[in-house]
């Protein structure tokens, strides 16, 4: 095994040749014979009842094959889209989930909601015909502001006060008791701004019904094709699983938004049988802004109780979470079980009590977006910790150090049991890399140039590889969260790795091959990774929540171990030795204490020709599968330090230095990990400084294009100084934790803590645009003048 491609080596990504030479095969690159095109007529109103829907003129427009509506769905008994996680209210009653038809049935609930679909020979014809559909809307009041949702008109009849759930976690009595004895209480109000995912590749789908076999095929931009098949089969009822194949080919980014099962994919696959032709749809950018599930959108009030020495006694949180107009696939768990269990952060907090209200509004559905709940928790924890340090006159690094969890395993008061970590080590390294001790001097230099300099910390914790299945089931999840793998060894010793996880930017084709090549002692070029096709790969759960390393690779290791065990049996026959004497090392099966040995490929050949053993004693072939169910989450953690310089005349914030120290456990490919950290920080900085979805009072999305929605660009970002500390995860065989979301989780509070440090007060919103920071600078100047 070459050290150049083994575990721990920065192997260049195998998939990049294909991508950078334009050879990637994305859904929109696929065309089926006789394919027709779908265009969705969308609601221009945030909230309206449909009094009349007249499709007659559209039906007879040139090229039109069909115009389908919610009535057709009902007639075909096609079910609505589902939310796969049941949340219970404080009183134990179930959440209130309104129906979510793929095409409107009498009512539209957000701008962009699906009214009807037109299928035609060309996309332009479908679009032209859609203009001929006459819809008589009775416009209802929009519900945009979560704080006013309760008294507003009901969006779904089942939820008259627009409340989906009123949920809580933690020990209220213990937390109240902690506050009763507190010497100091720090209070904070934060808004976690709403984001729009903006994957580079917009969503797309082709539904293709084969009347010869009765099999539907759906090509789609999915992070989890098996889950899509399960939902479309078992809940939506399009076809049983063996009659529905879902293929997610190359996918150009997801960030969570491609986990969910949406209306468009559902309609394309259903409609392909109705019109007797393959049906293709590719979102344009405006449709992506309007109808991809958005992320975040919390309003929170929180309080932190401290004793006289600055030790944290208790933490109390009240959050309102905007879930949008319908409950998207996993939306309900994001502000509950993916959020509140992270509220202990890296800190030893004896008592925590969190309440979360999930609220319907007439806006696009909100669901998991890179980090999913953990960024919201981290932002809150790291903002209030920073504020508490400032209020008590303690250095923010020292305040954190004093309150860090220092012994492991550690049981928090909010479900999580952290297996391992060394928070002090990350902090120490980060302080040194950031040259924290000379910050004061740099601040003075900035002041000489009329600039305000600030420094901000974020000591984040996150939880990856959501697990174990039985535990998440008891919390309301509709599925298990294990992963599957299969190792198929070919007769010449090359290997296909079939995984239930899905790569859409993460580099699995490289890291998974690295792992398998390393374990089997074969060349990395002899290993290929197969994913994203329900006909090829056995059931798997897909990729999100930074689970593919900790869970997906653990399943692979389990299958590889089985291959080696079987290989030993084959080698024993082939080498005429006892199985217990066979050792496997560096790609060779050796008979202990002799020079008798066979290479991995030779054993594979023996397994398939089956000349040296008989089929009653040993099955021919070399192929093993495994399912791995984790015993716990993994807990990546780290410290990011952001240093900003602000021009008070314009409010422009310049990030001048970024230090990221992360503990991801063991690392397979440090280059890919670094890339994930870079991308994550960019997205986190995007949230902190630039991005924000904005609906006006009528429920129109003002930020529905790049003219108004600000994406992070290269020149918005500094170079990142990246450091690594390592405490291997104790609960999976590889000791790995996960790195895909850490940057996006860590970054926002680091930025806002730096800006609030620079301007001298806490009142800075996200995104901290030049306008917002200019206001904050003026307020800071007034505050200084008053002092």
């Amino acid at each position: 095994m070459s050290a150049k491609t083994g575990v721990g080596a920065p192997v260049l990504r195998k998939e990049d040749f294909r991508f950078i030479t334009g050879k990637g095969q994305y859904t929109d690159d696929i065309n089926r014979q006789d394919q027709a095109y779908a265009y969705f007529l969308r609601s221009p109103h945030a909230h309206a009842t449909i009094k009349k829907l007249d499709i007659s003129a559209a039906k007879s427009a040139p090229g039109v094959l069909g115009v389908l509506t919610g009535d057709d769905l009902a007639a075909d008994k096609i079910g609505g889209l589902i939310c796969g996680w049941m949340i219970h209210n404080k009183d134990g009653s179930p959440m209130k989930a309104g129906a979510h038809p793929a095409l409107a049935q009498g009512k539209v609930r957000y701008v962009g909601d699906h009214v009807a679909v037109v299928i035609a020979d060309t996309y332009a014809q479908a679009k032209d015909a859609a203009e001929k559909i006459i819809v008589d809307y009775q416009v209802l009041p929009a519900v945009v502001d979560m704080n006013k949702a309760k008294g507003s008109v009901a969006i779904h009849d089942v939820a008259p006060d627009n409340m989906v759930y009123d949920w809580h976690l933690g020990d209220k009595a213990a937390t109240d008791a902690a506050f009763a004895k507190a010497k100091h209480v720090t209070k904070i109000d934060v808004v976690n701004n709403r984001l729009i995912p903006n994957a580079m590749e917009p969503r797309a789908a082709i539904g293709d019904f084969d009347s010869g076999t009765g099999v539907y095929t759906l090509y789609t931009t999915s992070q989890n094709p098996h889950v899509a098949r399960l939902v479309l089969s078992a809940f939506v009822g399009i076809a049983p699983e063996h009659k529905l194949r879902v293929i997610a080919p190359d996918v150009g980014g997801g960030f969570g938004s491609k986990i969910f099962i949406y209306a468009e994919e559902t309609v394309c696959v259903w409609a392909s049988k109705k019109v007797g032709r393959p049906v293709k749809w590719t979102a344009d950018r405006t449709e992506a802004f309007l109808s991809d599930a958005h992320g975040r959108d919390h309003i929170t009030h929180a309080e932190l109780a401290l004793d006289d020495k600055g030790k944290i006694l208790g933490f109390r949180v009240h959050t309102k979470a905007n879930l949008g107009a319908y409950l998207s696939t996993f939306s309900s768990c994001v502000p509950t079980y993916l959020y509140a269990p992270l509220l202990s952060g890296q800190y030893d907090i004896p008592a925590i009590y969190a309440e979360v209200e999930g609220i319907y509004t007439t806006t696009a559905p909100v669901d998991a977006y890179r980090g999913a709940g953990r960024p919201e928790a981290t932002f809150l924890v790291e903002r209030i910790i920073e504020k508490a340090a400032r209020e008590t006159g303690t250095d923010p690094a020292l305040f954190r150090r004093k309150n860090f969890i220092k012994s492991f395993p550690h049981q928090t008061p909010v479900i999580m049991a952290y297996d391992t970590g060394n928070y002090t080590a990350s902090l120490d390294l980060a302080l040194e890399m950031a040259d924290y001790k000379n910050f004061g001097k740099r601040k003075k230099d900035s002041a000489k140039n009329g600039k305000l300099r600030g420094i901000g910390f974020s000591a984040y914790i996150e939880a990856c590889g959501i697990a174990p299945s039985a535990a998440v089931g008891s919390l309301g999840a509709g599925v298990g969260l294990w992963e599957s793998a299969e190792i198929r060894v070919n007769p010449v010793g090359t290997v296909e790795v079939l995984t239930g996880s899905h790569s859409h930017g993460q580099g699995h084709e490289t890291t998974f091959a690295q792992l398998v090549a390393d374990r089997l002692g074969i060349d990395i070029e002899s290993v290929s990774v197969v994913h994203g096709d329900t006909d090829k790969v056995q059931f798997g759960m897909g990729t999100y929540g930074s689970r593919s390393g900790a869970v997906g690779m653990s399943a692979i290791v389990k299958a590889v171990d089985k291959v080696i065990a079987k290989g030993k049996k084959v080698a024993a026959y082939a080498l005429e030795a006892a199985e217990k004497d066979i050792e496997f090392k560096d790609g060779r099966f050796n008979v202990a204490g002799t020079d008798k040995s066979l290479a991995f490929g030779e054993v594979a050949l023996q397994a398939y020709i089956a000349h040296k053993f008989n089929g009653q004693d040993l099955e021919p072939g070399l192929k093993e599968g495994a399912f791995y169910d984790p015993t716990n989450f993994t807990f990546p953690s780290g410290v990011h330090i952001c240093e900003v310089e602000i021009d008070p005349e314009t409010g422009v914030t310049d990030i001048v230095k970024w230090t990221a120290v992360d503990d991801f456990g063991n690392i397979i490919n440090p280059m890919i990990v670094e890339g994930q950290v870079h991308g994550g920080i960019a997205q986190g900085v995007g949230q902190a400084l630039l991005e924000g979805a904005h609906y006006n009072a009528d429920g129109q999305l003002v930020t529905a294009s790049y003219m108004d929605y600000t994406m992070p660009r290269a020149d918005d970002l500094p170079s990142f100084d990246i450091g690594i500390t390592t405490t291997p995860c104790t609960t999976n065989p590889l000791g790995i934790k996960g790195c895909g979301e850490a940057g996006a989780i860590a970054a926002p509070p680091a930025v806002i803590n730096a800006i609030t440090d620079a301007v001298g007060h806490e009142d800075v919103p996200m995104p901290a645009t030049p306008l917002a920071v200019w206001h904050a600078c003026q307020k800071g100047a007034r505050k200084l003048a008053a002092e």
């Binding site: 904005h694 790049y706 108004d708």
Partner: protein
């Protein structure tokens, strides 16, 4: 996009004839504004009269004390022109700051000025430098040309042929970009020619580009950044949107003017 007929005239004269025959027709320059609006079905011209092959519409030359730029000259060519960089470096820098490379490779000065987007960069240069817009029918002073948001003095069927910029003694442009679109949130072009100082502001006014009397008055005495200290610009009549309040825009005008003056003085 709806269907339209496409025409490819070889001269401005042919283009004008085609335009008169197609009442719902439009001339196409770089297409950077027109084509996206057509794709979104917000514009539906019956005919496109492409100026791309019409003779004599592009190129940059110095004619006496003027820099003359053909209407079809791309932003990239203005940005990199030795003639412009030498005579009016602020104008080359302005062109360099428009959009991204793809936009600069297609977009034209004539298209930008004809479109008169209230956040576009070129109108501020034309107004501050006292440019003359030459059409197939007449010459129009910049002072008379820009008539409010997306409104100009151009008449039906009138085509911009070139723009002539008198060479100033000092000039520079400072742009505060909209964080999302990177069009001008506030863009200020300052120009000094003899004792005449002009300060034109784009991005801020609800009626498009305008001259800032406050800044011009402050600079009339001494043309340096100090003269602008403490200058207040009224927020009334300025744009307000999610990216900037009218007060913020008003505040940024003298700030950008100050920075432009410093740049113009080569400091």
């Amino acid at each position: 996009m709806y269907a339209f007929s496409y025409h490819n005239p070889k001269t401005v004269r042919q283009a004008a004839t085609l335009l008169s025959k197609n009442a719902e027709g439009k001339v196409l320059a770089g297409g950077q504004t027109l084509l996206p609006t057509m794709k979104q079905r917000l514009a539906s011209p019956s005919a496109l009269i492409d100026l791309g092959h019409a003779e004599g519409l592009s190129g940059i030359e110095q004619k006496g004390r003027n820099i003359v730029i053909g209407a079809m000259t791309r932003h990239v060519d203005v940005a990199t022109s030795a003639i412009v960089k030498n005579a009016i470096p602020g104008l080359a820098a302005l062109a360099e700051g428009i959009g991204d490379a793809a936009v600069r490779n297609r977009g034209t000065i004539g298209g930008s000025i004809a479109n008169n987007d209230p956040a576009a960069d070129y109108p501020s240069a034309a107004l501050a430098l006292g440019a003359t817009i030459v059409t197939n029918k007449r010459k129009i002073a910049a002072d008379d040309f820009f008539q409010g948001m997306f409104a100009t003095a151009l008449e039906e069927g009138e085509i911009i042929v070139k723009v002539s910029f008198p060479i100033p003694s000092k000039a520079a442009y400072e742009k505060f970009p909209n964080p999302a679109s990177r069009y001008a949130l506030v863009g200020v072009f300052v120009a000094k020619k003899g004792s005449d100082v002009r300060v034109a502001v784009t991005g801020a006014g609800s009626n498009g580009v305008f001259r800032s009397k406050e800044c011009e008055a402050a600079l009339a005495g001494r043309f340096n950044a100090k003269s602008l200290e403490g200058v207040k610009v009224s927020a009334s009549g300025l744009n307000a949107d999610m990216h900037a309040t009218s007060e913020y825009r008003a505040h940024l005008i003298p700030v950008m003017a100050k920075r432009a003056v410093t740049k113009a003085l080569g400091k």
